[in-house]
Amino acid sequence: MTLTDPYNDTVRACFEKPGHAGDLQGEYAQSLEASAASSDQGMTVALSVGISDGMIVEMRFRAWACPHLIAAAQMLCADRQGRLTDSLQQFDVNGVMQQLSIPVEKTGRVLLLEDAVTSLWQQYTKLCKTDSGTG
């Protein structure tokens, strides 16, 4: 990113080839979906995860969004796929903004992604409680 270029190399790479864009390809014991949207920002982001044995086997996103939010979603999915579902508890807004050089006025858009991740985690914990309750 330069003074006149609002997008750094990571944003451009994620935008050009968002490998995690789309829907879940596999079938999983547990799959969850969450979305967040802002009419003010005119942005929508949706996340889906396929979970098996407490692991995120696959994570995908869809977005009607600016390049920064697309890149943030792509980076999130790439990072969380293959990790324990516990990793959905953490979302470092400041870290994402720094890594993608996201301007501060776009903070609200990154918070949308955080909302979607939080929703996924809440769904997962609820699911676990239900499973343990019925099991």
């Binding site: 609002p6 997008y7 451009r12 935008f15 968002p18 864009a21 789309g22 979305s35 949207a37 009419s39 003010d40 920002q41 005119g42 942005m43 929508t44 949706a46 869809r62 977005a63 009607w64 969004a65 600016c66 390049p67 697309i70 301007p103 006025e105 776009k106």
Partner: protein, 393 residues
């Protein structure tokens, strides 16, 4: 193909024609026309003569007399002088003004400033094609109406207003008529000997002249009274004080002469480029062309794509330089008020791209724009959530 930017934003500004640059450079420096044209010495008289030649060249482009033109810094200043100048001069006769919701910001904001001073402004909406309905104008004119301002060619959509009929109606109702012709002067034939226009704004950088110079045409009618909005040395009939920028004026004159000579050829080229681009993308699903083609200047093509976010579309279009339908402001994400006035919702307005073509535009550049636009739309639709599910519609 070059890896540099492909410029398809000629509605924003045009590069100075090399022939204009040559004239402009010649007028600078010790041997040029650097002297103040208001000075009575020989060097000043030489500069004044150059200014007079340029004024005649611009007047000839518009088929009017050179003394009807007031040099300004561009169309924004010309619009301000026309609107504020009339409002101030005719304040005692009434404080009602009429304009359109689709005008350029320099007109909208000038009227808005007058509203804060107690003027009433009626904002007319266009029909779905972007054109003004004469009936709505007729109904809006009141006995106290002083000025109607309607732009000739819209800067976003290219929609051409029928300024002849609008002007006729204004004459019948004894109201002054101003038109912002920044997008049409030098691009479309304008005959001010025939058109019932009282005030017309232009800027040279839209027709391959330098930035920083424009003019206001003021019709030779007793009713057309203007008060100055700046004060100083009394230049330009005391309506626009300040030392004239001779080199810019000479450049504007040269640009006007070239535009007049090559207008027909340029229009044919614009039409070919626009049609090539539209033919290359029109088979994509859910595209909307903003502005009815039959009423549009061929140098502008404005297209909205359903299901595509505007800022991402701009990035996907690189290295093609086009204008977007959203304000260049990441904070607001505000969509084009012009397109919303045409009935487009926020998302469609935000997804709009304005392609605008120029003399240097080549078929190869248009083909690259087609490729990038197609890739971007398909790429972003591939990422987007299903329309019926998550899109905020």
């Amino acid at each position: 193909m070059s890896n540099g930017p492909i410029y398809l934003d000629y509605a924003a500004t045009t590069p100075p024609d090399p022939r204009v640059l040559h004239v402009l450079q010649d007028s600078l420096g010790q041997t040029g026309s650097f002297a103040n044209p208001s000075s009575i010495h020989a060097a000043g008289r030489q500069s004044a003569a150059m200014v007079a030649i340029a004024r005649t060249q611009v007047a000839e482009l518009l088929n009017t007399r050179q003394e009807r033109l007031i040099w300004t810094s561009g169309a924004t200043e010309a619009n301000n002088l026309a609107i504020q100048g009339v409002a101030n001069a005719r304040e005692h006769r009434g404080k009602h003004l009429i304009s359109m919701a689709t005008e350029h910001k320099s007109v909208v904001d000038t009227f808005a400033a007058l509203e804060k001073r107690g003027y009433k402004v009626t904002w007319l909406k266009p029909d779905g094609s972007g054109r003004l309905l004469l009936d709505s104008l007729s109904q809006a004119i009141r006995p106290e109406t002083q000025l109607v301002s309607v732009m000739h060619v819209n800067n976003e959509t290219g929609v051409i207003q029928d300024i002849h009929k609008i002007g006729m109606l204004c004459r019948e109702r004894d109201v002054l008529f101003h038109t912002d012709a920044a997008q049409s002067v030098g691009r479309l034939a304008i005959d001010l000997a025939e058109l019932p226009v009282d005030l017309l704004s232009l800027t040279a950088h839209k027709f391959y002249g330098p930035q920083g110079i424009g003019a206001l045409f003021v019709a030779d009618r007793p009713a057309v009274q203007l008060s100055p909005i700046m004060f100083g040395g009394g230049q330009e009939r005391r309506l626009r004080p300040g030392t004239l920028p001779v080199h810019l004026i000479v450049g504007a004159g040269a640009a006007a002469r070239i535009a007049a000579d090559e207008m027909h050829e340029n229009l044919s080229h614009m039409t070919a480029m626009r049609d090539r681009l539209w033919n290359g993308i029109s088979d994509l699903d859910d595209l909307i062309r903003n502005g009815l083609p039959v009423h549009c200047y061929p140098g502008i093509l404005n297209v909205s794509a359903d299901g595509v976010e505007g800022e991402s579309l701009m990035l996907g279009m690189e290295p093609v330089c086009v204008a977007s339908g959203s304000a260049c402001n990441a904070t607001s994400g505000e969509s084009s008020y012009v397109l919303r006035a045409l009935g487009r919702d926020d998302l469609l307005a935000q997804s709009a791209v304005r392609f605008s073509f120029g003399r240097p535009t080549t078929a190869a550049e248009v083909d690259t724009a087609i490729d990038r636009y197609r890739w971007s739309v398909e790429h972003l639709r591939g990422i987007a959530p299903a329309k019926t599910g998550l899109l905020l519609k």
